[in-house]
């Protein structure tokens, strides 16, 4: 638990490195969107990066609750669902309502925020601002609902809280699928044709990969600032010992509620980004399995480590959707392997996860963070520990 203290110059240098690396990352992403040739490598890289960035945000939001406040909540998929639907419902263009709400006579909400802004501000700026506003609305809806259910639920502790939030997430899903609300949620059917990443552009310049990174970075930065503030220290105090925290004057309920609502806000934002990424959204996808997937990433990354969550998100998405796909293809390096069949990928993936959880029982990062200040100090001392250095390069995405 002992926190290393850095001198101001080390801190400053660390910050400069972080900013430079982040800027380099954005330049790279911009090039990836516009300049770099499309081949089989970059084509697969782009969706993995997008989804990785979105999952980073969602996992960090869950980490804020589970890792920093010690509230074991399993409602993440429910809040993402609210965010995704709120985003989609407010950004489907007027002309598409009849087609999207095909069984509900075009639905009742017949306006689109991006479209309204586009008519005033022009296509590019309107789409961008509209998307941002809808994302914020998505977050607010999720946060508002969290505040509502937080009042009864947050009086519960540990396992009971987990079960209660899990139940609420399932209820939310069932309500969204209910035909009676079909004029708003389209019932069991897909929502589509809303503003997606490919609509974010300036002239002919595309920002399809830059945009999710931008939103995710901004949100994660806000969470980091929150954690390092006095509120964050109160969260950690609650996590470590509730009774001691209360004795020190921390208002338990108020802080738990704050953490729950803020975490849900960012889960809603993450859900909205996921909707943009998928270009279609259906309540059926937001099962408890999705919450478990996110929890798994948080555990693998390290409960209580922001950078761990980010690294684990990218690794998880890349393994799940890209690197291991060859295991299903029936051949390896041109040699046909009979047991490389459909589903074998999942077996290997599960084994890898088990190995990671067994040998890194506290996750990849434990509760430490990547720190460039620490890196500088270590380099200065010249007695570098090799394994840590390997991780540093992967972390600049956070």
């Amino acid at each position: 638990m002992g926190k290393t203290l850095y001198t101001p110059s080390e801190k400053r240098a660390g910050r400069v490195i972080a900013v430079v690396l982040l800027a380099a990352l954005y330049v790279l992403l911009f090039l990836l969107d516009n300049v770099l040739p499309q081949n089989s490598f970059t084509l697969m890289l782009i969706p993995v990066l997008k989804k990785g960035a979105i999952y980073s945000l969602i996992c960090v939001s869950m980490n804020l609750l589970n890792g920093f406040t010690g509230l074991f909540s399993l409602g993440q998929a429910g809040f993402m669902l609210i965010g995704a639907y709120a985003y989609a419902i407010f950004s489907i263009p007027k002309a598409q309502h009849e087609a999207v709400y095909q069984y509900f006579h075009g639905g009742v909400i017949r306006f689109s925020i991006p479209e309204a802004l586009q008519s005033v501000l022009g296509a590019d700026l309107g789409a961008f601002l509209g998307a941002v506003i809808c994302i914020i609305i998505a977050g607010l809806f999720a946060a508002g609902f969290a505040a509502l259910i937080g009042i009864p639920v947050l009086r519960l502790k540990s396992d009971y809280l987990a079960i209660a939030t899990l139940g609420f997430a399932e209820i939310i899903r069932a309500v969204f699928q209910w035909d009676g609300l079909g004029v708003v949620t389209n019932g069991s059917n897909l929502l589509r044709k809303y503003t997606s990443f490919s609509d974010i552009r300036v002239g002919s310049l595309r920002f399809t990969t830059v945009f999710p990174f931008l939103i995710a970075t901004l949100c994660i930065l806000l969470i980091v600032l929150l954690i390092n503030s006095s509120y964050g220290r109160a969260f950690k105090a609650i996590r470590d010992d509730e009774i001691a925290a209360e004795a020190m004057g921390v208002n338990l309920f108020k802080h738990k509620m704050l953490s729950f609502v803020i975490s849900s806000f960012f889960a809603g934002v993450g859900g909205a980004l996921l909707a943009m990424y998928q270009t279609t959204i259906q309540a059926a996808a937001f099962k408890t399995a999705m919450t478990y997937e996110i929890l798994l990433i948080v555990v693998i990354g390290g409960i209580g480590s922001i950078s761990g969550s980010c690294i684990a998100s990218f690794l998880f998405i890349a393994c799940n959707e890209w690197w291991l796909r060859f295991l299903d293809s029936g051949s390896f390096l041109g040699v046909s392997v009979p047991f490389f069949r459909d589903g074998f990928r999942k077996v290997v993936f599960s084994v890898i996860i088990m190995v990671v959880v067994l040998f890194f029982s506290r996750g990849i990062m434990g509760d430490r963070e990547l720190s460039f200040a620490g890196l500088i100090r270590r380099l200065k001392r010249k007695n570098t520990a090799a394994p840590a250095a390997a991780d540093e390069t992967g972390g600049d995405a956070s």
Binding site: S40, K51, Q102, A174, L190, T279, D342
Partner: protein, 418 residues
């Protein structure tokens, strides 16, 4: 000890990275082949160096299907038809040059959130045309990725109108939900003798179930029937109360457009409860799994589907022989050699794709897309031509009923909507 572990894990990572390298390496030549093949092939032809029977290159046909998840069983059967077609006709002649056809299969896991990366895999593999998918939800979810890459897609058994509506790259060779819902309502009214009450049971949150029920209801109400609809939540395994409700409502027919896994449970519990109301269902139920569940019961089960056994004996014989020779194929078909209609549709889709490539005279996706609307083909499941939205022009469905004594389908009628 800790160093050892770190080393081990690093090795794991390296292995994974190697694997990634190799898989993209595998795909890269295919993609490279696809793009410059036209330019490369032309000079080779001029120089007349290549022997006539040697392939000029490879055409990649992408297969975008669920091989796992809820619809895994149906997706696998659909892929079987394509693989059989590919085994029968592994080459295609385009402008006098013979190309090898390679099927690249991508598993979309029946899940909309995996759709983007699964579709991108096919784009990255350099597919000229894509076939799929079983399930309309994943088809719509993958649609934009293909549209952006300019690759045409031929939907095999995705029946939701939204798949092809409002776009120019998605085509389909099967009939649509409004048609099938109407066919089912007519059949229930005319053949099953339902005169007053019909009961519909679907899964909550499944767009396929709810869509069909919606169209069935419209058509049945127009015929003067009262329609009672109920939905069960995902993962439900006890259907006794729903079946009791159907009985209490004095239903004369139960319309249950559910996926296969629920269908099995519904049949078993209906048999156990001694339900004597006829069950009718759309194309999803046309599966040997249903036959196995229905065997030895007293239920009346009928399905509307794309193909009826005996439609093309030569094809059936060949397909069965091919499946029986390959243990994997047989396992993917559910363990026996009963032909599923989706396999037939997969088979036809492959030939429609080849026909379009021939018509295009090029392996360029854009050319194939342009050629597709004008492509016609007479397949095992009937003649296929596209209307202006890209849907197949089909006006008949086959109705089959399960013979509970022998565990086989018996052909009942060809039902069409006037």
């Amino acid at each position: 000890m800790k160093k050892l572990l770190a080393l081990l894990l690093a090795l794991c990572m390296v292995l994974a990275l190697c694997a990634c390298g190799s898989s993209s390496g595998d795909a890269a030549p295919a993609a490279d082949d696809a793009a410059p093949a036209e330019d490369a092939a032309a000079p080779a032809d001029e120089a007349a160096e290549a022997p006539a029977d040697e392939a000029a290159g490879t055409i990649v046909i992408g297969v975008y299907e669920p091989l796992s998840g809820d619809n895994g069983a149906g997706g696998k059967q659909e892929v079987l038809g394509m693989q059989y077609a590919n085994a029968m006709t592994p080459t295609v002649e385009v402008n006098g040059k013979v190309y090898n056809v390679e099927l690249v299969i991508s598993d979309n896991e029946s899940s909309n959130d995996k759709a983007v990366s699964a579709a991108t895999k096919l784009v990255a593999a350099g597919a000229s045309v894509v076939l799929g998918s079983y399930g309309s939800g994943v088809s719509i979810a993958g649609s934009d990725t293909f549209a952006e890459a300019g690759i045409p897609v031929i939907g095999v058994t995705c029946t939701n109108p939204q798949v092809t509506a409002g776009n120019s790259h998605y085509f389909r060779i099967c009939f649509l939900d409004p048609f099938q819902g109407t066919v089912q309502a007519n059949y229930a009214h005319d053949e099953l003798g339902a005169a007053s009450v019909a009961y519909c049971l679907g899964q909550l949150g499944n767009d396929y179930d709810q869509g069909l029920i919606n169209y069935f209801k419209q058509a049945a109400e127009a015929l003067g029937l009262e329609v009672v609809t109920e939905s069960f939540p995902e993962g439900n395994s006890d259907f006794t109360s729903y079946l009791t409700n159907a009985k209490n409502a004095n239903a004369e027919v139960i319309f249950a457009p559910t996926s296969i896994s629920y269908a099995q449970l519904i049949i078993e519990q209906a048999a156990a409860q001694g339900i004597d109301i006829p069950l009718t269902a759309p194309d999803t139920w046309d599966s040997n799994v249903i036959l196995a569940a229905a065997e030895g019961t007293d239920l009346s089960i009928s399905v509307s589907t794309f193909y009826a056994e005996g439609g093309d004996p030569a094809f059936e014989e060949g397909f069965k022989a091919w499946m029986n020779a390959d243990a994997t194929a047989l396992a993917n078909n559910g363990g026996n050699d009963t032909i599923a209609a989706v396999s037939v549709m997969g088979y036809d889709a492959y030939y429609v794709a080849l026909e379009a490539i021939k018509n295009a005279g090029s392996i360029d996706p854009a050319a194939v897309m342009e050629a597709l609307p004008g492509t016609t083909y007479t397949g095992v499941s009937g003649s296929i031509a596209f209307d202006e939205t890209g849907d197949a022009i089909r006006d008949t469905a086959f109705i089959k009923s399960a013979d509970t004594a022998t565990g086989e389908w018996t052909f009942v009628a060809e039902q069409s909507v006037g």
